[in-house]
């Protein structure tokens, strides 16, 4: 297979964006084309989860390719729940690596704020098992709440650890002009003060308001190219070096130990093996912290820390911007936002930005290997990517 490189990057702010879904895909796509210096692509992959349900928009890829005047390039929509973004990048990788195409555009876009929070929560809940979970009123926050309770009992994670993740990621988001949440928070304000329970009420006990990501709109784009095309660029070369994907049972209750995220473990292992790097080589990572607990658990499952010790590393500051392995420098889903179909592409955007040395105030020093974990369902379909800076 051929090497695959990232040639262009584009991003909208993750926020509430009152633009049609097609434009949320089109804007970062134009930025990425400008960044890459290309005026044509061979193929588009458009990641989106809710267009048909939330925005009455199907055939999104066809709409995007035409709105960008990129016809007759091929175009396909990719839907894989909240992992749609990384799944689309995987498809783009395969298209270039196989030699089928030389220049591929991967766009993620989602417009969730067209509906209210309750409808958005219900929409995301439709990824759960329809008969074993959804009909009983299960939502992603409720699954995550039960998961968190188990994890706390088994490994000693506390509400303070969860709040520390939120505070860290809000701090990082303050340094990211594209982040949804530009709001400083403190342990005093969300955990310790007499008003903390009002500022930070329970959503699904023990998860509280600031343990949950916002509902966001947004778009992100990467342009992937072959080595031959990449050498024409005047930018630092960043290679998409590893791709891993794994699945787990659809219903969480069928897992032998629900606190083990086996799909994360397997997908990360595949990606690291393919890239021929180890977790300890990673200098910057974006993990799918739709809920604060997930950052802690994923940091263990992907191999950054031993199982059950992620919260201890957090206490030691190892995941901070200036720590040993900075996690969610963009602010993560918690601070940057979570437009579900765009999230995986947005994670990759951050990692490539870091590896290029273009992250400005949140730049991690000397990072040469970056990692993303895009978590679909409640861990039942996970895609991990490894990026390596060359030269």
């Amino acid at each position: 297979m051929r090497n695959v490189y990232v040639a262009g990057l584009g991003l909208t702010a993750f926020s509430r964006l009152e633009f049609p879904l097609v434009e949320l895909a089109g804007y970062p796509a134009m930025q990425a084309m400008k960044d890459a210096g290309v005026d044509r692509v061979d193929h588009l992959y458009v990641a989106n989860m809710g267009g048909s349900r939330l925005n009455r928009q199907t055939g999104l890829a066809s709409a995007v390719v035409d709105s960008l005047s990129l016809t007759p390039a091929g175009a396909e929509s990719i839907e894989n729940g909240p992992a749609s973004g990384a799944s689309a990048l995987k498809q783009g990788y395969m298209a270039v690596a196989s030699g089928l195409h030389d220049v591929v555009m991967v766009v993620g876009a989602e417009r969730m704020r067209e509906v209210n929070n309750l409808e958005a929560t219900d929409f995301v809940a439709t990824l759960t098992h329809p008969l074993a979970e959804y009909i009983y009123g299960v939502t992603l926050p409720s699954l995550a709440g039960m998961f968190t309770r188990l994890y706390m009992e088994k490994y000693g994670v506390t509400s303070r650890h969860l709040a520390m993740v939120a505070v860290k990621n809000h701090d990082n988001a303050l340094l990211n002009p594209f982040a949804h949440i530009h709001q400083k928070i403190t342990l005093e304000g969300i955990l310790d003060s007499p008003e903390a329970m009002t500022n930070n009420p329970y959503v699904a006990e023990p998860l509280r308001f600031f343990d949950c990501c916002p509902v966001s709109d947004g778009g992100a784009c990467l342009i992937l190219v072959s080595e031959e095309e990449a050498k024409k660029l005047k930018k630092p070369l960043v290679r998409l070096a590893g791709v891993g994907q794994a699945t787990d049972t659809h219903t969480v209750q069928e897992r032998r130990d629900p606190t083990d995220l086996l799909a994360v473990r397997a997908a990360a292992a595949q990606a690291f093996a393919m890239a021929k790097v180890k977790p300890s080589d990673v200098g910057v990572a974006e993990l799918h912290d739709a809920f604060t607990i997930l950052e802690i658990v994923e940091s263990e499952e992907v191999g950054f820390f031993k199982k059950g010790e992620g919260h201890r590393a957090l206490e030691r500051g190892e995941t901070r911007l200036d720590g040993r392995i900075p996690i969610n420098t963009s602010g993560g889903l918690k601070g940057k936002g979570h437009p579900v179909g765009a999230t995986g592409v947005g994670q990759a955007h951050e990692i490539v930005t870091q590896l290029r040395g273009e992250a400005k105030k949140r730049q991690v020093k000397n990072a040469r290997v970056g990692f993303t974990c895009n978590f679909g369902g409640f861990g039942n379909n996970v895609v991990c990517l490894v990026f390596v800076r060359e030269g």
Binding site: E18, F19, V22, E23, I185, G189, P201
Partner: protein, 249 residues
Amino acid sequence: MSIELEKILRPVDHPMEPFPPKFMTLADGSEMVVRQVGREDMPSLLPHVAQLMLVERDQYDIVASRVYAELLSYYTHRVQDEYVLVAQIDGELAAIVNGRLVNPEVGMSYHTLAFRRGLRVGAHAFAAKMEYHIDILKQKEVLIVAESPIGFRRWMIEYKLEKRFHIPHELGGVPSWALTKELFDAARGSLIVGRRPVPGKLLKKAQEAILPPSDPPKPSKFLMAATRAKNDPTGTSLMLQRWKQEGRG
């Protein structure tokens, strides 16, 4: 204008117990003071309200325009039994809430205008307003409407307000909702929080001056651009973005 005519135009206010200042810690760890201000403070508030009148997100434009009129009416004695509370962080204006008495038993909530977002600033200020009606003025219920979906979620849903649809609210004749004493008591300690007395230093800082909000919501560059884009299936806004990216406007 003759004094005699002014006497006719100017309603006579009923005496109202003052709102005792309170404070609370926000999610960012800062401390916010909520206190009552008088007519004499209105000229200093109006310019801050005016700058939100062109912010077309979340009905800021409508709310700010109406608040401006309400504060001006209060200042010029064209509304009866109105009161105004302000929320301040380090002296800086964070929110304005206001309302009036319909009669001794029923209050009418006017507006909640937050200059800072994301810290429950508006929610805390609204709760203080309800506390004023129910606890301080001993009213039985407060009539409420919301202009924005955010307001609807914050007031009608969070407080589980009762319908009073047969009563047109003073804000546009919209059907009213009501916060009763029972609903207020149910929200006490969860939605309605805060501490008294306000530490002397904190209160002094708030009373010294109402400082301008440092980062209020700002109008978009092109008036009504967001609304146009929302209803624009033709891609015009995409084209505008493309031109902007290319430095063509």
